[in-house]
C-alpha cells in the first residue's frame, strides 16, 4: 500500500522546485518535463517508448483509480524517467486490475511525485516551453543544490533515444501478410492492429539497413513511433531513403518525421508539443475529422518534394500527415493505433493494407 513517508521533489532547470510526496521507486532521474492531457490511459502512456528521456506529467489530477492490468501494455517496461501527478490512487477498483500504480513504478525503478500543483507546471510549460527537469524521491534529506547543478549541464538535444527504445533482435508476431515494422520505439498497439488484420509482423531494430529489410521481402513496411529528435538518427534517414518505392510504407509519429528528413524535408521542435487524446485532425481530401491520440514534441515544417500534405491539425495547423503516391508512402504524425485514446483513425491501417 502507501509508501511510508517517501518525500519527493521536482526540480526544473530554471531552479523552480516543487516539493511533494513520493511514490514508486526511491530514485533520482533527469528528463524533459512534458505533459499529457489524456484523462484515461496512464498505463499505456507509461509504457509508451516515445516517452524515453522524458518526465511525464498527467494533467488529469486523479491517476491510478483502476490500477494496472495485464493487457494494456505498449511495451514491457516504463519509459518515462519519472511520473508527476496531482493525486495517486493507492487503491484501485477494476475487474482487470492486477497491481497498483505505486507498485508498478517501484517494479520499474521509476520515481513518482504527487501532491503538487500540476496545473501550475503545465501553465509554465505552456508559456515557456518544455523544460529539462529532475525528479527525486527520498526518505531523509535531499541535496537539491547538487541536482540543480547537474541539471545545468543537462543537454539531450543530440541524444539518440531510439537505440535504447527499440528491439535488439528481430521479432515476429502473427500470421498472414508479411509486414516489416522498423522499431524506433514502437508501441505494441501498432503490432496489435496489424496482427488483428492478419499480418505477419517482423519487428526489426531501428538500425536495420535497407538490405536487411528488403531481404525479408515484405509486402509493406511500417515505420514506428519513437522518442527524441528526428534529426538525430541519421542511419534511419538513410535506410528509409533507400527503401522508398520498394513497397508501400506507412509511418507513424517519429517514423513520419524521419520520412521528412529522409527525403529532404525538415522538422522543428514545438514549444510544448502535442500530448493527449483529444487533438482534431482533418483529412484534406475527404474533409473527415478524426479525434486523435498524439505524442510528439517535433513537427514536420517542410514537406519533402514529391510529397503532398494529407492531414493537418485543426488547431495549430501543423502538418499531421503526408503522402507520396509514386512511392506509395503514407505517413501521419498522430497515433492511429490509439492506446490510449480514440479509435477514429484505425481505418488508416486498412488503407495501408489496401495499398499493398
Amino acid at each position: 500500500m502507501k509508501s511510508e513517508k517517501l518525500k519527493a521533489a521536482l526540480i526544473l532547470q530554471d531552479g523552480t522546485v516543487f516539493h511533494g510526496n513520493g511514490f514508486g521507486a526511491s530514485a533520482i532521474s533527469q528528463g524533459e518535463l512534458v505533459f499529457n492531457t489524456s484523462m484515461t490511459g496512464y498505463q499505456e502512456a507509461l509504457t509508451d517508448p516515445s516517452y524515453g528521456g522524458q518526465i511525464l506529467l498527467m494533467t488529469y489530477p486523479l491517476i491510478g483509480n483502476y490500477g494496472i492490468n495485464d493487457t494494456d501494455f505498449e511495451s514491457k517496461k516504463i519509459h518515462p524517467q519519472g511520473f508527476v501527478v496531482r493525486s495517486c490512487s493507492f487503491d484501485a477498483e477494476h475487474r482487470t486490475c492486477s497491481s497498483y500504480l505505486d507498485d508498478f513504478l517501484k517494479q520499474n525503478n521509476t520515481p513518482g511525485i504527487y501532491g503538487i500543483d500540476t496545473r501550475q507546471i503545465v501553465r509554465r510549460i505552456r508559456n515557456h516551453g518544455v523544460v529539462p527537469s529532475a525528479i527525486a524521491t527520498y526518505t531523509d534529506t535531499l541535496d537539491i543544490e547538487k541536482i540543480k547543478k547537474d541539471l545545468e549541464s543537462f543537454d539531450y538535444s543530440g541524444v539518440d533515444f531510439v537505440k535504447n527504445a527499440c528491439v535488439k533482435k528481430p521479432q515476429v508476431y502473427g500470421k498472414g501478410r508479411k509486414i516489416v515494422l522498423i522499431d524506433y520505439g514502437a508501441k505494441m498497439g501498432i503490432v496489435r492492429e496489424l496482427v488483428t488484420r492478419n499480418c505477419e509482423v517482423h519487428v526489426l531494430p531501428a538500425t536495420s539497413s535497407a538490405e536487411e529489410v528488403s531481404s525479408l521481402e515484405p509486402e509493406g513496411i511500417m515505420l514506428s513511433n519513437g522518442p527524441g529528435d528526428p534529426a538525430v538518427p541519421t542511419y534511419a534517414h538513410k535506410t528509409i531513403a533507400e527503401l522508398g518505392g520498394s513497397c508501400p510504407i506507412f509511418a507513424i509519429c517519429l517514423g513520419h518525421q524521419l520520412i521528412a528528413h529522409a527525403y529532404g524535408g525538415s522538422t522543428k521542435k514545438l514549444k510544448f508539443g502535442h500530448r493527449g487524446s483529444n487533438h482534431a485532425v482533418i483529412d484534406i481530401l475527404t474533409q473527415k475529422i478524426s479525434i486523435t491520440t498524439q505524442n510528439h514534441g517535433f513537427a514536420v515544417d517542410k514537406i519533402p518534394d514529391g510529397f503532398d500534405l494529407s492531414h493537418i491539425n485543426l488547431n495549430d495547423k501543423t502538418v499531421e500527415g503526408m503522402c507520396n503516391k509514386n512511392k506509395a508512402i503514407l505517413s501521419v504524425q498522430y497515433h492511429p493505433e490509439a492506446a490510449p485514446g480514440p479509435h477514429d483513425s484505425k481505418y488508416l491501417f486498412d488503407e495501408f493494407l489496401k495499398m499493398i
Partner: protein, 1038 residues
C-alpha cells in the same frame, strides 16, 4: 432566415432552468449568424424571453394549436426543436406529424424529425441498435398487461417499465413481481403519449455512464464529456450523484463506450447535440445502451458547464449547417473540433424538495423527484464532493443509515458517511449499495480525516482537510470551535484558497473567457480584476421557493453592471442556469454560496461591493456575516435587511409608521403559543422565524392543531421562536415589487392574488393590474409602500405583501430583496426592475419611468404532485409549486385563461363533465358554480350532500359506499374536471384527498380554490366565442 425557437415552459421536475440556458445560447448563435429569431415560451422568468435575446417574442402557452397559429402569423422558414427540452421536442413532433410544418414550409434545423422519431420510439431505436450491433437489454414494447406478462414469464423479474415519450421517467418503475408489473403498467399506459410502454430486463447495480456527443451534418462527431453516475443503475440519472469525467473506466472501457456512442449517434443521424446513456457490468465488462436524448438536455447543460465547452452554441451552429471544423471554441479561440480535457473533478448532486413534502416517500428511483442540482469542482474527488454538499444548502438531519442505503433515498450519501463513522466496512456497504468501491473508499477517507482532525488537530491536517473540501464550519464542529476561529487560524497558517481556471483544455491553451473554482494549492490564476468590479451572489440550486426567477435577476445584474461600466463577478453553483454561462458575466466563480466561500472571493477580488438582494434568501442569509467581515454590501444596508427580517423590529416600525398589521405575536414555547393564539383568536397562521418560501408555515384552526404543529412541524426553541399571525379570511392578498434609490420609490406594479389570503404567494394565481382593489385601496398601498421603503431605507428592490379586508390594508411582510414576481412584473410593464435596482445600488438616481399597462397579465403556477406520490395537492401557506407561467391579454379573462392553459389546465372536451365536492364554507356557492358550469355545457356530478339540490346534476354515492363513485368517474375518464375545496386540517385519508390524488394521476385538472374556478369559468364563458389572442408580448401594451 426567420427561425422559430420553442422554449420549455414552466419549471417542472425533470425540466428546469437548463432550457433557458440552452435556448438563450441558441438564440445568440442564431442571431450571431444573422438570422431573425421568433421565440415562444410561457415562462416569463427566462432570459430567452428578453427583448435583448430574441427578435420576436411570444409569451404564450406551449401547445400545438397555439404554435400552429403563431406559425401562420410569423411564417418562419425553420424551426429549432431541440433546445426546449421534452416539451419543445414533443410539440415540434406534433406539428410535424399533423403536417403543419409541411403546409407552411417550415423545415427542421439540425436533427430532423425522422431521427428524433427513431431516438424517441423504443421499438425503432431498439431495432436500429440490433441492426448496428449495439447491445440493448432484452425488452419489449407492450400495450397490454398480457403482453408484458408473457415477456416476464420468459425473462423473469425484476423488470424496468418505461412509458414512451414522457419526461424525467414519469410513470416508470421497477416491478419485482406480476402484481407490481400490473400496477406500474396501468399508470404507465395512461401517461405515455402513445399508450405504450417498454418492459425491460433490469440491469440493477450495473455502472451507469453518460456520453455527451456532438455531430455535424458531415458526420464528424466527438465526445464533449463522459460522466459516471455514482449511484448505480436503478436510480434515474437525474436523481444520481454524478461525477465527471468517469473515474472507474480504464481507457479500454472508455473507448468501447465512446465508439458505441459515436456509432449510435451516426446511425440515428444526429445533427447537433445528443446524450447517450450506457450501463456497464463492471464485473464482466459487458455493456448496453439504455437510451439517447436527441436534443439538448439537463446532462448537456451539466457537461457544458463541467467542461467549459459551449454545447448549445455549437449545436445551434451545426443546426445551421456549419461544420465542426468551421466553428471556434469561444473559451479558447481555438477550433471547436476537439474533445475537452479536464484537469479537475466535477460533482453534481440533485436538490430534492422533500423538505416541502414531508409526507412523500424519500426513496429515489427511476422517476425524477429532484427540482434542481448543484455542481462543484475540485482537484480531488473529496474536495468536489464536500463543496457540492455545501452548495445544496440543506441541513443534514440525524438519520439511521439503514433506512437510506437500499432502497436509496436522497440522504444515501449522508447515510454512507454515517455508516463509516460507525465503523462499517467498504465491502459491507458495497454489498448493500453496489456503489463502486473506489467511490466508497473515498467516502471512507473523508470520515477517516474527520476522525484524525478530532483526535490530533495539526496545521498539516488542516491543510489536508481544506484540500479535501471541508469547510471551516465543518472543521470547527469536529474540534469544538466556530467558523471564524478556524478561519482566523487558517489565515494565520497562511492556508488560503487559490483559484483555478475551467478552460476546456487542461491548461494547454490560454483561456479567453475563463471561469474559476477554488482549491488549496499552488498558483492563484484569478488575478484580481483591476477595473472597478461588483460581485453578484447567485441563488444556488433551483428549489421550491427559490427558482429560476432569482437567476433571472442575477443575470440581469451582470448585464446591468456591464452597462454601468463595472466588471461583474458572478458566484453561483447551479450548472443549469444562464447566470453560470461563460459569457453572462465578466468573471464567474463556480462555488458554494456560504459565508466562507463568498468571503474568500471578496478577499481575492476586493470589489467595490457585493450585491445580496438578487439571489433570494441564500444571499440575504449571509449578508450580515459578509458585512461584519468587511465586505461592502451594496444597496439596502444590513440594518435595513435586519429591520425587515426581524419580526419584532419590523412590528415596531409598522406601529411607528401607522401601518396596520394582522394581530400577531412571537412564541418561544408551546404554552406561549397557546396563550398568544387564544388572545388573537383562531384561525392563526403559524411559521418559524427566518423562513424561505413559507417552509413549515400552516394555518391552524384550534388549540389541538397548534399543539400538533409545535410538536411535529417545527423545532421550537428559545433561539428559534415561531411567529403567530391572525389569519384574515375572505380577504384579498396583494403584493408590490418596488425599487428605490433611497429617496424616491417606484412601484413596478400592485398585484392581486386570485386565491384568498392564506395561500402562499408563490402558489397563487396573480393578476396585474389588480382587479378588485378600489382606487382608494391602491392609493393606500402606494402610500404604505413608500413609507415602508423609506422606513427600511431601501436602496434597490423590495417586495411587500399586503392583505385588503373591508377597506383596511394590512401589511403581512416586506422582503428587502428581489421576489419571484420581479420577472413577471418586468415583462408585463416593460420596465426592467432588477437592472434598475442595480443602477440604484451603485448610486444612480431613480429615473422617470412610465409603465405601460394597457393590458392584463396573469401569473399561474405548476405543481410537482404527479411526481411526488402520496402528497396532497391542496394549497396552503407553504409554497409547493415548482414553476410559473404567464398569460397576457387585452382582457383579464384572456390573460387568465392563457396562463392556466400554459400551466396545463385544459378544459377542451367533447363531453365536458365536472365533479363538484366543496367544503362546508364553500357549499353556499354551489348553485352559482353549477349555473356557470351548466352554461358552459358541463354535466355535473357530485354527492347528494353537495349537488342534491341542483337540477340536472347526477348524484353518486360517497367513496366506498357504492358505485359509480368519484374515483371511478375520474379513473374511467367520464369526469374531466374536478372541483374540490379541501376541508381544514392535514388528514390524508379523506375522500377529498383520494379524489385529488386520483385526478392528478389521471391527468385531469383538479382545482382546489373556489375563486380560481369561478374566475376560470367566467373567462371561458367570455372567451367561448372569441379566438385565442396571440401576439408578440410587447404588442399587448400598445
Amino acid at each position: 432566415m426567420k427561425v422559430l425557437v420553442i422554449g420549455s415552459g414552466p419549471i417542472v421536475i425533470g425540466q428546469s432552468a437548463e432550457f433557458d440556458y440552452s435556448g438563450t445560447q441558441a438564440c445568440k448563435a442564431l442571431r450571431g449568424e444573422g438570422h431573425v429569431v421568433v421565440l415562444v415560451n410561457s415562462n416569463p422568468a427566462t432570459i430567452q424571453t428578453d427583448k435583448e435575446t430574441a427578435d420576436i417574442i411570444y409569451i404564450e402557452p406551449l401547445t400545438a394549436p397555439v404554435l400552429e397559429k403563431i406559425i401562420e402569423t410569423e411564417k418562419p422558414d425553420a424551426l429549432v426543436a431541440t433546445v426546449g427540452g421534452q416539451t419543445g421536442l414533443n410539440i415540434s413532433m406534433q406539428l410535424e406529424k399533423s403536417g403543419v410544418l409541411k403546409k407552411h414550409n417550415v423545415k427542421f434545423l439540425g436533427t430532423d424529425a425522422n431521427s428524433i422519431e427513431v431516438a424517441e420510439s423504443r421499438e425503432k431505436f431498439n431495432n436500429l441498435m440490433k441492426e448496428i450491433g449495439i447491445p440493448i437489454l432484452p425488452g419489449k414494447v407492450v400495450s397490454s398487461f398480457e403482453q408484458a406478462k408473457q415477456f416476464a414469464d420468459t425473462i423473469g423479474y425484476p423488470l424496468i417499465i418505461r412509458p414512451s415519450f414522457t419526461l424525467g421517467g414519469t410513470g416508470g418503475g421497477t416491478a419485482n413481481n406480476a402484481k407490481e408489473l400490473e400496477q406500474i403498467l396501468e399508470y404507465a399506459f395512461r401517461l405515455s403519449a402513445t399508450g405504450e410502454a417498454l418492459v425491460e430486463q433490469s440491469a440493477l447495480g450495473w455502472g451507469e455512464f453518460e456520453y455527451e456527443v456532438i455531430r455535424d451534418s458531415d458526420g464528424n462527431s466527438q465526445i464533449i464529456c463522459n460522466m459516471e453516475n455514482i449511484d448505480p443503475m436503478g436510480v434515474h440519472t437525474g436523481e444520481s450523484i454524478v461525477v465527471a469525467p468517469s473515474q472507474t473506466l480504464s481507457d479500454a472501457d472508455h473507448q468501447v463506450l465512446r465508439n458505441a456512442a459515436l456509432k449510435i449517434v451516426d446511425a440515428v443521424g444526429i445533427k447537433g447535440g445528443c446524450n447517450v446513456q450506457f450501463s456497464m457490468n463492471q464485473d464482466t465488462g459487458e455493456f448496453i445502451v439504455i437510451e439517447i436524448n436527441p436534443r439538448l438536455s439537463r446532462s448537456s447543460a451539466l457537461a457544458s458547464k463541467a467542461t467549459g465547452y459551449p454545447i448549445a452554441q455549437v449545436a445551434t451552429k451545426i443546426a445551421l449547417g456549419k461544420k465542426l471544423s468551421d466553428i471556434k471554441n469561444a473559451i479558447t479561440g481555438t477550433s471547436a473540433s476537439f474533445e475537452p480535457a479536464l484537469d479537475y473533478c466535477v460533482i453534481k448532486i440533485p436538490r430534492w424538495p422533500f423538505d416541502k413534502f414531508p409526507k412523500t416517500s424519500r426513496v429515489i428511483g427511476t422517476q425524477m423527484k429532484s427540482t434542481g442540482e448543484v455542481m462543484a469542482i475540485g482537484r480531488t474527488f473529496q474536495e468536489a464532493v464536500n463543496k457540492a454538499i455545501r452548495c445544496l444548502e440543506i441541513k443534514i438531519p440525524k438519520i439511521n443509515p439503514d433506512e437510506h442505503l437500499n432502497p436509496a433515498t436522497d440522504l444515501r450519501l449522508f447515510a454512507i458517511l454515517e455508516s463509516f463513522r460507525h465503523g462499517r466496512q467498504v465491502e459491507e456497504l458495497y454489498e448493500i449499495t453496489k456503489i463502486n468501491k473506489w467511490f466508497l473508499r473515498r467516502f471512507e477517507e473523508m470520515v477517516k480525516l474527520e476522525k484524525q482532525l478530532q483526535k490530533n488537530f495539526t496545521k498539516d491536517l488542516l491543510l489536508e482537510a481544506k484540500q479535501s473540501g471541508f469547510s471551516d464550519l465543518q472543521i470547527g464542529s469536529f474540534i469544538g470551535k466556530d467558523e471564524l476561529e478556524i478561519r482566523n487560524l487558517r489565515k494565520s497558517y497562511n492556508i488560503l484558497p487559490t483559484y483555478k481556471i475551467v478552460d476546456s483544455c487542461a491548461g494547454e491553451f490560454e483561456a479567453l473567457t475563463p471561469y474559476y473554482y477554488s482549491v488549496y494549492e499552488g498558483e492563484n490564476e484569478a488575478i484580481p480584476i483591476k477595473e472597478k468590479s461588483v460581485i453578484v451572489i447567485g441563488a444556488g440550486p433551483i428549489r421550491i421557493g427559490q427558482g429560476i426567477e432569482f437567476d433571472y435577476c442575477c443575470s440581469h445584474a451582470a448585464f446591468a453592471l456591464r452597462e454601468l461600466g463595472y466588471k461583474s463577478i458572478m458566484i453561483n453553483n447551479n450548472p443549469e442556469t444562464v447566470s453560470t454561462d461563460f459569457d453572462s458575466s465578466d468573471r464567474l466563480y463556480f462555488e458554494p454560496l456560504t459565508f466562507e466561500d463568498v468571503m474568500n472571493i471578496v478577499e481575492n477580488e476586493s470589489p467595490e461591493g457585493v450585491i445580496v438582494q438578487l439571489g433570494g434568501q441564500t444571499s440575504i442569509n449571509i449578508a450580515d456575516a459578509l458585512s461584519k467581515a468587511g465586505a461592502k454590501i451594496l444597496g439596502t444596508s444590513i440594518d435595513g435587511i435586519d429591520l425587515a427580517e426581524d419580526r419584532d423590529r419590523f412590528a415596531k416600525l409598522m406601529i411607528e409608521l401607522g401601518i396596520p398589521q394582522p394581530e400577531n405575536g412571537i412564541a418561544y414555547c408551546e404554552s406561549d403559543a397557546l396563550i398568544i393564539a387564544a388572545k388573537i383568536g383562531y384561525p392563526v397562521v403559524v411559521r418559524p422565524s427566518y423562513v424561505i418560501a413559507g417552509r413549515a408555515m400552516e394555518i391552524v384552526y384550534n388549540g389541538a392543531e397548534l399543539r400538533r404543529y409545535v410538536k411535529e412541524a417545527v423545532e421550537l426553541t428559545e433561539k428559534k421562536p415561531i411567529l403567530i399571525d391572525k389569519y384574515l379570511d375572505n380577504a384579498i392578498e396583494c403584493e408590490v415589487d418596488a425599487i428605490s434609490d433611497g429617496k424616491n420609490v417606484f412601484i413596478g406594479g400592485i398585484m392581486e392574488h386570485i386565491e384568498p389570503a392564506g395561500i402562499h404567494s408563490g402558489d397563487a394565481n396573480i393578476a396585474l393590474p389588480s382587479m378588485r382593489l378600489s382606487d382608494n385601496e391602491k392609493q393606500i398601498i402606494t402610500d404604505y409602500t413608500e413609507k415602508i421603503a423609506h422606513g427600511l431605507s431601501i436602496v434597490g428592490l423590495v417586495n411587500i405583501q399586503f392583505v385588503a379586508k373591508e377597506g383596511v390594508i394590512y401589511i403581512l411582510e416586506a422582503n428587502p430583496r428581489a421576489s419571484r414576481t420581479v420577472p413577471f412584473v418586468s415583462k408585463t410593464t416593460d420596465i426592467p426592475l432588477a437592472k434598475l435596482a442595480v443602477h440604484m445600488m451603485v448610486g444612480k438616481p431613480l429615473p422617470n419611468l412610465d409603465p405601460k399597462l394597457n393590458h392584463y397579465a396573469v401569473k399561474s403556477v405548476v405543481f410537482p404532485f404527479l411526481k411526488l406520490i402520496g402528497t396532497d395537492i391542496k394549497l396552503g401557506p407553504e409554497m409547493r409549486s415548482t414553476g410559473e407561467t404567464m398569460g397576457i391579454g387585452k382582457t383579464f379573462e384572456m390573460a387568465y385563461f392563457k396562463a392556466l392553459l400554459a400551466a396545463g389546465v385544459s378544459l377542451d372536451h367533447d363531453k365536458p363533465a365536472a365533479f363538484i365536492s366543496l367544503n362546508d364554507s364553500d357549499k353556499e356557492k354551489v348553485p352559482e358554480l353549477a349555473g356557470l358550469l351548466k352554461n358552459l355545457g358541463f354535466k355535473i356530478y357530485g354527492t347528494i350532500g353537495t349537488v342534491g339540490s341542483i337540477e340536472g346534476a347526477i348524484t353518486v354515492p360517497k367513496i366506498g359506499r357504492g358505485t359509480p363513485n368519484a374515483l371511478e368517474l375520474i379513473e374511467s375518464g367520464i369526469v374531466n374536471l374536478v372541483i374540490n375545496t379541501p376541508t381544514k386540517g392535514g388528514l390524508s385519508h379523506t375522500d377529498g384527498f383520494k379524489m385529488r390524488r386520483a385526478s392528478i394521476q389521471n391527468g385531469i385538472p383538479c382545482i382546489t380554490s373556489i375563486n380560481t374556478v369561478f374566475e376560470l369559468l367566467k373567462a371561458i364563458h367570455i372567451l367561448r366565442e372569441s379566438e385565442l389572442e396571440l401576439r408578440p408580448f410587447d404588442q399587448y401594451s400598445k
